[in-house]
């Protein structure tokens, strides 16, 4: 039997393969979500978590570019803060089981939770694409700042500023990645979340609001 494992792919070939895999998983998410009945919020959260974990792991070769921040931001906007925090924690832990788990997982979960809360604060402007783009860019900087605070476990506060400055290019890449994901995936993801938001469905059905999140 041929030893296929000896076929070494270059880093760019591996990245192309990963993007193709992520596209397949994204299609699976779309297909799976369409088969869900409206209002199946927890099932949708599971699919989003799976997509977030796969996106973060498969795009790891790209510096600080992954779809998780946008997913959590949109979840905050459309599903509420509590569900976005749940999503943030599950994606942080799930992806770090593959990428490496440590004290930073807590900070990543916290960072993405804050992004989700930012989304929830902007829920009234969820139909504005410009609001989404600006919030996506800001979320990159917010998340990176929170995660950077984890180095205070190892060094004194005087070292934080040089560390933050050294990380600026990565913050910029994170923000640019978020904006790009928002432009490409923002509308379908938002539509998906709206379809499963119980409070919106209740309003549409004229049953009144029960619980926003």
């Amino acid at each position: 039997m041929p030893a296929y494992h000896v076929l070494d792919l270059s880093s760019s070939q591996m990245l192309m393969l990963n993007i193709a895999l992520l596209a397949l998983i994204g299609l699976g998410l779309l297909h799976g979500e369409r088969r869900l009945e409206d209002g199946r919020r927890l099932a949708l959260l599971g699919l989003l978590a799976l997509f977030g974990i796969a996106g973060r792991v498969l795009l790891a070769p790209l510096p600080n570019i992954q779809p998780v921040t946008l997913i959590v931001l949109l979840a905050g906007m459309h599903l509420g803060a509590r569900h976005s925090i749940l999503l943030a924690a599950v994606i942080a832990l799930g992806s770090n089981l593959i990428l490496g788990h440590g004290i930073w997982t807590l900070y990543q979960a916290l960072g993405w939770s804050l992004v989700g809360c930012l989304g929830a604060l902007l829920a009234s402007r969820q139909d504005s694409i410009s609001t989404l783009l600006v919030a996506a860019a800001l979320s990159g900087f917010l998340f990176d700042f929170v995660v950077s605070l984890s180095i205070l476990h190892a060094v004194g506060p005087e070292s934080l500023l040089p560390y933050l400055v050294a990380g600026l290019p990565y913050d910029l890449l994170h923000a640019a990645g978020n904006v790009t994901f928002a432009a490409w995936m923002g509308a379908p993801l938002a539509e998906m979340m709206r379809r499963h938001n119980l409070s919106e469905l209740s309003l549409e059905a004229g049953e009144g609001v029960t619980s926003p999140a």
Partner: protein, 203 residues
């Protein structure tokens, strides 16, 4: 900096072309994708610029970790400095900083030498073990060649550079904790926060 400005100009011009070439919603998609690709490819340039600023913000002196990223404080580090006129092509743009998982996360163009520091290690007790593992993490570009004689381990070449073969009166010199090591790398006992430095000296 001029390269970054040129890239910025090019991207703005390309964005303008995209603006007229595409209609919504594809216009936004095209422009954001263009900026993302440009930023990814210009990341090494941005890193170099920013690393110099970050370096100048580090003010600690008199400690072997001085000038190294703070995330490596209290951990073991190996630095290899190539001579000015015989640098390694992989590292000729500054001092690379490579984490213990092999990630080359920062290049300091403002540093006094070119080469690489590989850090974030812990638990090593012997200098040779740390050196071999650290250079392996750098991806093989800093391969260490050494001979084992009755006098102990003698490093002849690092990253393809053999000072004696090149210059005759030069050798790879070992520093530990900021001072020249009194023992060879094979006998060097490490501390928890040891910094090993290799640079070329002459006799």
């Amino acid at each position: 900096m001029s390269e970054l400005l040129a890239l910025l100009g090019f991207t703005l011009a390309a964005s303008l072309v995209s603006f007229f070439l595409f209609s919504e919603p594809n216009r936004l998609k095209a422009i954001t994708a263009l900026w993302l690709v440009v930023l990814i490819f210009s990341a090494p340039l941005m890193n170099t610029e920013v690393a110099g600023i970050s370096y100048r913000l580090v003010t600690e002196e008199g400690d072997p970790h001085h000038g190294l990223p703070d995330i490596w404080d209290g951990e073991q580090v190996v630095c290899i400095h190539f001579p000015d006129n015989s640098t390694n092509a992989e590292y000729d743009d500054g001092l690379h900083h490579i984490d213990s998982n092999g990630t080359d996360f920062m290049t300091a163009a403002g540093a006094n030498s070119t080469g690489a520091c590989i850090g974030g290690f812990s638990g090593y007790e012997n200098g040779l073990d740390l050196l071999l593992d650290a250079t392996e993490q750098a991806g093989g570009t800093l391969e260490v060649v050494y001979s084992d004689s009755e006098w102990g381990i003698f490093v002849t070449s690092i990253g393809g550079f053999d000072p004696e073969a090149q210059w005759g009166n030069a050798y790879w010199s070992l520093y530990h904790g900021g001072a020249m090591s009194m023992v060879g790398i094979g006998d060097l006992a490490l501390e928890n926060d040891s910094v090993i430095v290799w640079r070329v000296d002459t006799w």
